[in-house]
Amino acid sequence: MEVFIDIALLTLLCITAMAVVHIRKLFCAIMLLGIFSLLSASMFVNMDAVDVAFTEAAVGTGISTILLLLGMSLTNTREKRPHYQPLFSLVVVSITGAVLVYGTMDLPAYGDPNASIHHHVAQRYIKQSPLEVGPPNMVTSVLASYRGYDTLGETAVILTAGMALVALLGMRRRKVLPMSSSSGCGDYHDMKDHLVLRIMAKIFIPLILLFALYVQFHGDYGPGGGFQAGVIFASGIILYALIFGLEAAMKVVGYPVLRVLAACGLLLYGGVGVACMALGGNFLDYNALAHDPLHGQHLGIFLIELGVGVTVFAIMVIMFYAFASRRGHTA
């Protein structure tokens, strides 16, 4: 049965990917990309990788679709047809694909219990992590503790992405405010007049924010964690900005606050690591944080997940602001 679902999903994935390449209308392409992410999220669920699926759904179908749409609204809605046939690219891509297929020939079969991937480090993660790290969700144990340093790196990647965007697009104060209300970014203002949208948003936004908090603090026990929670919390704010206008959202959380939050999230994460060193452990060795190693692990994971959540939230909203306020300038 699982194989059947996998084949169906993979077929749909291939069709969507080809449609994205083929289609010239950027709006359709972006929507299809969202569908692509949702399909891959479903595949991850089928693989029992719910945490990954959760992230893919939140980022791929949620935030990145909105960011792509915003980017599109700054440029053009149709892709320019290249004036040459990119045959060379086709050849390169085909060869790469063929090599990849060739490379899978000596891989252990999909789901083979004897594959070495299940017998080396994974054994300890499965058997020992409840005893030496604690959380029932061992994905959290691996991400936050065994390989917590990678997660620190990833958090820094998120911060880099946000700062790169701000450095390149600029995050000027919106001096064009009075003008924009008449013509500029009219679309947002118009949405305020949609009664259904407005009421639904008012109902949904608190629930979204609440759910984000749940995902944040329940990550030890179920799928979720700081990354997903940050994205979901950000999408609550972004929804608010989309419907009630950018200025209204910026009054709630302005750019300076977000900038400080983004930095503090990473500092919190790194600070936990440094605190571990100060208390006599290695960097990010949470055992040092409390007398009982398990308590230490619990506290450490809680704090770094919080750091991840805060940074991801702040950067996602900053990215949205950077694009959206740009839109006011050029329109």
């Binding site: 060739y102 990678d150 990010l284």
Partner: protein, 495 residues
Amino acid sequence: MIHLPVALVVIPLLGAAVCVLFRRSFIAWTVALAAAWSGFAISILIAVYIMKIGTLSYSIGGWPPPWGIAYHIDYLNSFVLLIVSGIAAVVMPYARTSVNYEIEEDSQAYFYCLLLICLAGLLGITVTGDAFNMYVFLELSSLSSYALIGMGKRRRALTAAYQYLVMGTIGATFLLIGIGLLYNLTGTLNIHDLAHQLAVNNIIGSHNRTLLTAFAFIIVGLSLKLALFPLHLWLPNAYTYAPSVATIFLASTATKVAVYMLLRFCFTILSGGFIFKLTLGKILLIPALAAILIASMVAIFQYDIKRMLAYSSVAQIGYMILGISLATPLGLSAGILHLFNHALMKGLLFMVMGAVNYRIGAVYLNDFRGLGRTMPWTMAAFVVGGMSLMGIPLTAGFISKWYLVQAALEKGWWPVAALILIGSLLAVIYIWRVVETAYFNPAQEMEAESSGEAPLSLLLPMWLLVLANIYFGIDSSIPVELAGRAATLLLGGAS
């Protein structure tokens, strides 16, 4: 003392967050300077420790290696660490004046933030003993370098950054595919454990097609990142349009770290680098030689001198890969040594570009007219850097060329040795064009009055590198010793 390896990465990383927090240009620069200098100090301490006692390991999170992420430093890493952190330590004092001139006041804090993240990323790649951790920090350094390049003054900087973003992302993805396949084969991500598992499970000798594919992807991906000849197309634009400080830093560190990764994957994971001895050496030899000849020739015809130096970088990368592809102790140590020497000379030459740009506002060949008189110290530095690039005795560049020619002759590859010398002659031509314009062409009357010598804050770091170029050309015992030991370690198979 035991926490030094991790402090090396954590200081710039958290420093970057502090830059964002305060967003004041001066504070950000101070933080960056402190982080870079402490990083260099730590690298020296680590190098001394390694020379005296041996390899240094550090388990992050207290988890032992195959389960957690561990840092593992041997001769090779510590040598690359010295290069990266040393260049950062010289660039930061230079950065203040140059960045003030080239970057808007509002964005300066972000510039330092991204520069620090890039530094943390490059150092993180170098110290780690974990293949996936390497990828994470590669992402960190790449992403920040795209933004750094895009911050250049000219509008084409954005296109250049975009071009690099596409090529660099393909490279990083290929690397990730390769690491993923390796993980699937062995169930581990630790580099030394990977080597062990591949050997113990008899995967290496068994013509395993997945292993072959994994390394095909890793090598192509890294060749993109290190700008090996046909895959170098992103580099000239990126180096030309990036802000001077970004060019100096990236040109003398980023490609070196990519070469380091290539060495790590090919020589440590596949113990002793036997694929180089079998086929890969010969496969890489051709693009390396092509890089030396073609990129040097293209450099001769460039009028934007920054672009000329960028093409020369492509050629110099050819020398490094050439040395590595010989896969003999001498060739390998020549390649590794050239990482160091090239960082010295290209750092210096791009610093000169930054200073000329500061005074004149552009670095076209025409702009160099009469600079020999108006900016004597800057142009003298250019001459020393140029001589080092050509490989004239008593400069650092000579040492690596000397070892490289010896290594080629040792194998009996006369044509290769001849090509190395031809490459040097081509370098003489393109450097001479600039020197001739600067010293023998009359200055434009308009600018002769307005421009003077570069400010001291630019000259001091520049002349520090001039002295380094000369010092390491006369007494090269330290880098030669380290590179030699690293080469022996790589060829002897990692333990």
